[in-house]
């Protein structure tokens, strides 16, 4: 009889995932500089809470009350966050950000449901592989030192600004000059799928192609 050992036990890191969601929210809002520019730093606490709430709900199956207790807020707040419509906020957000410029911003308070919708959106992006690019680049460049493979951080740097999912033509535009491990990008990208869903799936595609070619 085999007692399952530590190495087979999986643990979800809620804390880290909440952090990733939070960073993705900031990216969606235009990055730290943008948030400072709009004087919207006061948004951050409720964005942290909503990021955490979404993760507890989606990953752990916590109910509103449990989340509220865990995060030290009210059940109604959590309910408003988690039942917010992502679509609605997607439209309104742009308005809010645009009209936010100038003095008005000082009173530009973040509504609970907007915070919730942003976190939900960010969570979905991450689940679909579109990690906050800064975070991904950081890890990739760190690992590329460890494994002595230097092309992934270069690729990530070059595709900065692309809005995933993206067509393979757009990728080509950015990377056509690259030579990766001795292969021209021209040869590598030819049988890529028409749309590429995330930076990490792009890296995977490239790695697979190189392996084939070798």
């Amino acid at each position: 009889m085999k007692v399952i050992q530590e190495s087979d036990i999986q643990e979800r890191d809620v804390d880290f995932l909440a952090l990733r969601v939070f960073l993705k929210v900031i990216e969606i809002l235009g990055g730290p500089a943008k948030i400072i520019e709009y004087r919207n730093l006061t948004w951050l606490p409720s964005l942290m809470v909503s990021s955490y709430a979404v993760v507890l709900h989606e990953e752990m199956g916590y109910g509103y009350e449990e989340i509220a207790k865990f995060l030290g807020t009210t059940k109604n707040t959590i309910k408003a966050m988690l039942s917010a419509s992502v679509e609605l906020v997607k439209e309104k957000l742009m308005e809010a950000l645009e009209e936010g410029e100038g003095d008005k911003v000082e009173e530009n308070k973040l509504k609970t449901h907007v915070a919730g919708a942003l976190a939900k959106l960010a969570y979905k992006e991450i689940k679909e592989g579109r990690e906050e690019l800064g975070l991904l680049s950081h890890f990739v460049s760190h690992l590329s030192d460890v494994y002595q493979i230097y092309w992934p951080p270069i690729v990530l740097k070059k595709i900065k600004g692309l809005d995933f999912p993206v067509t393979k033509e757009k990728i080509y535009e950015k990377l056509k000059e690259l030579t990766i491990e001795g292969f021209k990008f021209d040869e590598i990208y030819r049988d890529f799928p028409d749309t590429i869903h995330s930076p990490s799936s792009l890296l995977k595609l490239i790695a697979e192609k190189i392996k084939q070619k070798k």
């Binding site: 085999k2 979800r12 199956g61 109910g63």
Partner: protein
């Protein structure tokens, strides 16, 4: 119209329910399917619990739930079906020795099944016990890695105890997971209240029974009257265990209340129905009455002489 299927094609296309042995004597023939053959309905026993179903066993403490869970594990392992046992209440090392003893009682050499039983010790791991997502991630990993066919959880109550609100959510997640991985599963759940002994609605409110495929309820009964004494053949003050299949949406099943016995080697055996006991008692009474009557007659004739 492609979306509309005729009843006859639905009947032929539907997955045939199959049984898989439970390792509990007297239990396997209580599940059956019906088939129409030559215009007649025939009942075909499954010779086991329905495969790919999630079976909930509920009852108060000491009713034999864990023993059934262990017998199922051992039997399945002996058939080469890899089984994972999630222990929530008993530390793994006690479970291992209990499984070994149980195997000997079932005349199965524990060494022969050693590689077919996998134990997830949630008793000793807070993150597994308190966080169903971690438990299911771990199970997914174990199921894939070791080609697991059956999952036993003793008990699910221990997974939602501290947080009654989400009992339903937790059980539903477990259920969906087990379905996704085509597992045959035994979930043990404890009944804490003494009220309404013989019902499947346990401590987690209505969480478990409405979600799972099959429910088995076990109750304790104290012998309280002379009638009970006669019926169950045990003295007043002693306890008997009663067993009933309380619904199964996968197949047909026996609906009577039966005696559940725990043998002196520690195995659960499902026995006679209460109505069988009653008619046996009646027969006995009639025989006695007959005897009495003839006795009287003899005496009477004697006196007349």
């Amino acid at each position: 119209m492609e979306d509309v299927i005729t009843l006859s094609s639905a009947l032929t296309d539907a997955i045939e329910v199959e049984g898989t042995p439970s390792g509990v004597q007297g239990l396997d023939n209580l599940f059956f399917k019906t088939k129409i053959q030559n215009g007649k309905i025939t009942v075909i026993p499954l010779n086991g619990i329905p495969k790919f179903s999630v079976v909930n066993i509920t009852g108060a403490n000491d009713t034999g739930k864990s023993i059934i869970a262990e017998q199922f594990t051992i039997k399945q392992a002996s058939l080469g079906n890899n089984t994972v046992f999630v222990t929530v209440e008993t530390p793994a090392k006690f479970l291992v020795s209990s499984l070994k003893e149980r195997a000997y009682a079932m005349s199965i050499n524990p060494h022969s099944i050693e590689n077919n039983i996998f134990i997830v010790d949630a008793e000793n791991n807070d993150s597994l016990r308190e966080n169903v997502a971690n438990l299911l991630d771990t199970l997914a990993n174990v199921i894939k890695k070791y080609k697991i066919r059956n999952v036993v959880i003793d008990s699910v109550t221990g997974l939602y105890e501290a947080k009654e609100i989400s009992a339903r959510t937790i059980v539903r997640k477990i259920y969906n997971f087990l379905k996704k991985f085509y597992q045959t599963a035994i979930l043990v759940s404890q009944k804490r209240s003494a009220h309404d002994e013989f019902s499947v609605e346990g401590a987690g409110g209505y969480a478990v029974p409405h979600i799972v495929d099959c429910n088995i309820a076990i109750a304790k009964k104290i012998i309280e009257s002379f009638y009970d004494e006669k019926l169950y053949g045990k003295p007043i003050g002693e306890m008997v265990r009663l067993f009933r299949i309380d619904g199964c949406r996968m197949c047909g099943h026996d609906t009577s209340t039966r005696i559940l016995e725990i043998t002196n080697t520690g195995l659960v055996v499902i026995g006679k129905t209460l109505s069988e006991l009653r008619s046996a008692l009646k027969r006995e009474k009639n025989e006695e009455a007959d005897k009495n009557e003839s006795n009287t007659r003899i005496r009477y004739t004697g006196k007349g002489r």
